[in-house]
């Protein structure tokens, strides 16, 4: 709560034209947004590009933040818009080049191909896009249900439902993973 109000204060100073406040906001918010992009299967260069694009957009529309409103949903709504835009563009380009097969591999990589099986991307791999973003915001960024609902332009009920279904899928996936891990530890 204290952190949020601190961010709100920084955002208000950013709107007043305070460059120091803007720099502090960039340093505080960027790691969260970066994790958000990485959790949505963006490669590191893609996540870098998305982060820069998001900040340019944030800067251009910073007057749309209204003091007193929660600040994280505002940031995440813009980041989500940039990511969806980027994804649509990627799909369009890929379709044009008739490389849909490669794209489907990019959209849903198998756990073994992304590196470690317990990487954030690999863990979230079985989830749908909307479930991934809800889990990312709720459990990784630590936002409340209300804040996630605001960021995703949906209702609290819908966020709860997505989170519940995502946890069912994660439970199905993580159960065997934990079992395998236990067996390999026993062998060693």
């Amino acid at each position: 709560m204290h952190l949020d109000s601190n961010l709100e204060m920084l955002m208000a100073r950013y709107q007043e034209g305070d460059f120091t406040a803007a720099t502090v906001l960039v340093e505080r918010i960027s790691p969260q947004l970066y994790r958000f992009f990485v959790g949505q299967f963006s490669s590191r260069p893609d996540a870098d590009d998305l982060l820069q694009e998001t900040w340019l957009r944030i800067h251009r529309v910073r007057h749309t933040y209204r003091p007193g409103e929660p600040v994280l949903p505002w940031f995440y709504a813009i980041a989500r818009h940039v990511r969806v835009d980027h994804y649509r563009k990627a799909v369009r380009t890929t379709a044009r080049e008739q490389r849909l097969e490669e794209m489907s591999q990019l959209a849903a990589p198998a756990p073994g191909e992304t590196g470690k099986g317990d990487d954030l991307e690999a863990l979230l791999a079985p989830l749908s896009e909307s479930q991934r973003e809800v889990i990312e915001m709720l459990k990784v960024a630590g936002m409340s249900l209300e804040e996630v609902a605001r960021a995703t332009s949906s209702s609290v009920g819908s966020v709860k439902q997505k989170a519940h279904r995502a946890y069912e899928k994660l439970r199905e996936r993580m159960g065997p993973m934990r079992l395998r891990k236990g067996q390999s530890e026993e062998k060693s």
């Binding site: 994790r35 870098d48 800067h59 209204r66 940031f75 332009s153």
Partner: protein, 237 residues
């Protein structure tokens, strides 16, 4: 496996995501520095929504002043009170949602599709309760004139509404288009209720309500076109 254990695994996985490079953060900060200046935040939602309702009422009244208040004069007191108070409430709800669509991270009370569905349903029920003459005459030809008149008045209402909210930023342009179209469509319906003296139930139920749906569809198309236009402009730059 318990939820707490999943939370812990996710938390550890998130901690392994590499940090953002300091050089990238500096690049971001440097890119915004030249255009740093004070900006004026958007007014409160109720102020903007009030402005939108006034615009819609103004367009409907101006249209009726030009075309004549024939429908309004033919109505009884109950019809006047019920129709215009309902349209006012719907316009306020649509105006508030349009403002929310144009401000990222706003609380949404109703989705764009539900707003259109609810608005259409309320109008159909209200018209069905008030008008009972099911005799039809020149159903299509007269209906098309009403539909065209309603949509033609919805267009300036939509444009003026967009002008009022031009400083906003729609994270979903199609959704914002549907809501703006619904609001503009209510203006068209308002104008028809003021002007149209044809009280045949089927005419009002089908053609007056169609203005709302047609206008929302037009809004969705404009929103979709806007999405591609913005992307093409970005690619050109």
């Amino acid at each position: 496996m318990r939820d707490g254990e999943i939370d812990e695994i996710l938390r550890k996985a998130a901690a392994r995501v590499p940090d953002v490079e300091a050089a990238l953060l500096k690049r971001v900060a440097d890119s915004i520095q030249p255009s740093m200046r004070q900006v004026r935040p958007l007014p409160r939602t109720w102020v903007l929504a009030g402005g939108l309702v006034l615009i819609c009422a103004g367009v409907a009244l101006a249209g009726a002043a030009r075309a004549g208040f024939n429908g309004f004069e033919k109505m009884n007191l109950l019809e006047r009170a019920l129709i215009f108070s309902t349209l006012g409430v719907l316009a306020w709800v649509a105006g508030t949602e349009f403002v929310n669509e144009m401000i990222p991270g706003s609380r949404r009370k109703i989705s764009a599709g539900r707003l259109l569905g609810l608005g259409s349903l309320v109008l159909v029920v209200m018209f069905a309760l008030l008008f009972h003459d099911y005799h039809t005459e020149h159903f299509v030809s007269v209906g098309l004139v009403c539909l065209a008149t309603g949509v033609l008045h919805a267009i300036p209402a939509g444009l003026l509404s967009w002008l009022l909210l031009r400083r906003g930023f729609a994270v979903s342009s199609v959704s914002a288009g549907v809501v703006a179209g619904t609001l503009a469509g209510l203006t068209g319906v308002g104008l028809l209720e003021l002007h149209c003296p044809n009280f045949q139930a089927m005419h009002i139920l089908v053609w007056h309500t169609a203005v709302l749906v047609g206008s929302a569809a037009l809004g969705a198309l404009v929103g979709r076109a806007q999405r591609f236009r913005v992307r093409d402009l970005r690619r050109m730059s």
